[in-house]
């Protein structure tokens, strides 16, 4: 049962696929059928990591003995949960009870939480094999940058702050990983690395045990190499829309194409991706409709910055008081409110966000989904920055579910993705749409590849 929308190295005659290249859904079927053991899968992922980690540097902590012990235990278990034996990387701002949680902060180098975060507890209860902790920007906020490189081009950032979670899934080191998003920390890195990611509706997954930066914004998200795998985690986290699934047929769909009020920051790669994606949809029979968001949405990007920064004042006060020397100067300045953001500005930011949420819900009733950029363009070169979240902020602040769909290439032949979004609590419907749209994008990519290879001849 091959995962039809799975990304894989598609060229050449079919060699046996090493288990590390399977999607979670594919591996799960084989484990259940007894044609793959959890240990075999774990060893394949560990081999890949051994080959690649020196270059990609996605892991903040990994212990092969711990993984293999747990894999063998899982192989002996008759009680098989929905994620039985599936390796999953955990962003290192999310607590784990058997591995350190370091937040890329020297103050936490020896920190061993007593409990798993709620989102990890639920994974373990579903039989997942917690593989290790993935690299992050300091506290998933700002400050110390991770050493992780983009597996598609080692001279470029993989994006962040969920850098390691995106890079390790893109590099076939694990099929799944957890990230977090406050500005664009999940979706942008998926775009840069050419994989699937989901940031669900705000607060449908508990953030207990995840480092706090901004209660209004922080959201647990995840990476995968197929839409089916994104849905697998939605199942495990018991995310449901109201009522039965709405019928959806791509050839009768109406999808809004939204350049957003920050379109001026899109470069040629993103222009091309949005245009090409829209064309592919139209070719599949979709009615695409340009969506211009009304004026209050122009305030959202700045409102997101105000909220992230102001809520960070309270969030990092304890670090400031207790671990001052370990806290990056950028975060100290946030606590000190060096930008002089007033409470009135914060209140205004909360209120404009709330108004836009209501307006957006109205807008969404006309469409099956909304297609919009995931990033300004390709992953930038270098490691001083993980890129810019300008295209993700408004969706984070609107609390709406977002799915990154890969499938495009930028001017430097690096991946570019597009975001599908929709109203709050439409996570499952969005996955249904994403499944068909991703096949449409993949089919287009395959035809481009064929025409390129024909031209080469």
């Amino acid at each position: 049962m091959p995962d039809q929308n799975a990304e894989r190295n598609g060229d050449g005659p079919r060699a046996p696929v090493p288990p590390c290249r399977l999607t979670a859904s594919e591996a799960s079927v084989m484990i259940r059928a007894g044609t793959l053991s959890v240990e075999q899968l774990a060893r394949s992922c560990l081999e890949r990591i051994t080959q690649r980690d020196g270059e990609v540097r996605g892991w903040a902590f990994i212990d092969p003995d711990l993984i293999l012990d747990r894999a063998r235990e899982l192989d002996k278990t008759s009680d098989k949960g929905p994620l039985h034996g599936i390796p999953i990387g955990i962003k290192d701002v999310i607590d784990t009870d058997d591995m350190p949680t370091r937040h890329n902060s020297p103050s936490y180098y020896h920190h061993h939480p007593a409990l798993d975060a709620a989102c990890v507890m639920i994974l373990r209860a579903a039989g997942a094999l917690i593989f290790g902790k993935t690299e992050t920007v300091e506290f998933a906020a700002a400050g110390r940058q991770p050493l992780t490189r983009n597996p598609k081009n080692l001279d470029h950032t993989p994006g962040g702050s969920s850098s390691g979670s995106a890079a390790t899934v893109a590099d076939f080191q694990v099929p799944l990983s957890l990230g977090t998003q406050t500005g664009g920390s999940t979706i942008r890195a998926a775009s840069f690395c050419g994989i699937y990611a989901m940031k669900p509706t705000w607060n449908v997954v508990s953030r207990e045990g995840v480092k706090v930066q901004s209660l209004t914004l922080d959201t647990v998200g995840w990476y995968a190499r197929s839409v089916n795998d994104l849905a697998l985690l939605c199942d495990v986290y018991a995310i449901h829309d109201d009522g039965p699934a709405k019928p959806f047929e791509l050839s009768r769909a109406r999808i809004a194409v939204c350049e957003t009020p920050v379109w001026e920051h899109a470069d040629r790669s993103t222009h091309n991706a949005l245009e090409t994606g829209s064309e592919a949809l139209r070719a599949a029979g979709v009615e695409t409709v340009p969506l211009i968001l009304p004026p209050p949405f122009e305030e959202l990007s700045e409102a997101q910055v105000i909220i992230q920064s102001s809520e960070g004042r309270a969030a990092f006060l304890s670090e400031y008081r207790v671990n001052y020397s370990g806290l990056h100067p950028i975060l100290r300045e946030r606590v000190e409110n060096r930008e002089n953001i007033t409470r009135a500005a914060l209140r205004r930011a909360y209120d404009v966000a709330a108004q836009c949420r209501m307006i957006f819900e109205e807008i969404c009733t006309d469409f099956d989904a909304i297609l919009t950029p995931s990033a300004t363009g390709e992953a930038p070169a270098g490691f001083q920055s993980t890129g810019w979240d300008i295209f993700n902020r408004i969706w984070s602040l609107l609390h709406v579910p977002c799915i990154n769909l890969p499938g495009f290439r930028g001017v430097n032949d690096l991946p570019v993705g597009l975001t599908l979004t929709g109203p709050r609590f439409s996570d499952r419907h969005l996955l249904t749409v994403a499944n068909d749209v991703s096949r449409c994008f993949a089919a287009r990519q395959a035809s481009v590849a064929r025409s390129v290879s024909t031209c080469d001849k």
Copy 2:
């Protein structure tokens, strides 16, 4: 420097006050002056606890040796923070790194967090003496009830879910304690126990390391026996309003008296308190203005229930999956959404709350503060319930600061308090108003006591 608005047993000739009866502000002055050691204060509190804990049962965990060791360390420290040596109780849903955190849940009986919650870290960094963990309703939510009794009448509940935090402060066992509020868990218990409490604006104090029930509602709050002591904790948590303090003079003040849309649930004790309180204000020269909240506010109480319950679905899912048998059936039903609350209803609840926040801010521009009930009446008899949060919910959902002011007696001679509230981020201004209003209420109480004692003769 006696704390002028401090509650104390005021009758009879002045005997030397045992240190446990001092407010935090008073004790702090004496410790700084060298007339009281941290150990003496701690021993006085421990003596009081020894006398009274068998009846009041406010503590979930207390270790006198740990307290005295730490007290002696503090006495040796030259670096004196703003809370140097001040005993403080911590509600047992808030993580502490040197004491268990049990949440009144059998699943957590042996749980020792690796880190203090952010709000506790900040207290320790300010020199506070973390005294012990106080009794709570299971997960501060629902289910197992605490054994705590109301120190003003042992046959009555002290209120909850912050039951132990309110009772131990009211009973002179500690001068300060931390609680939390999701519905009315901080303010109501203060009203029932006859003490001061503050629920600050939502999210101005980090909730990291506090058990999650509802991100939208959960707020860290605190108890004290004077307004000055409430302000002391505002200082420590770096809570500031915009700009310099607004001038305030009680005799020129304009205070709204708000019965709220749930006034039908107020009994005679609360009717009397609101009337008597308003009269006392008018006698002090205050212009009191009846405030009738506009129609959308009628939806707020139900919206609060929908949000608390729906967010609890996600919050308790990990307990449900991992500690099913330890989780109270009421909370299991919440995870299962037995009430069939739709996502559409949740969205509507979020949106009506956001609309009311904006309207409320407008309303508040006309007043220095708003006076409103803290509870339906006195503490109910028995321990099956900690009372009803119907008068607190709307303020929790509006995210506004609330201060409980004691000073009234109900039909059974138990305490009744009133709430002062105002716009988001006006915490410091509200403390200024509360300081004057509490003196006004205390003066009225003293004059009532004098007239009663005259009649007795």
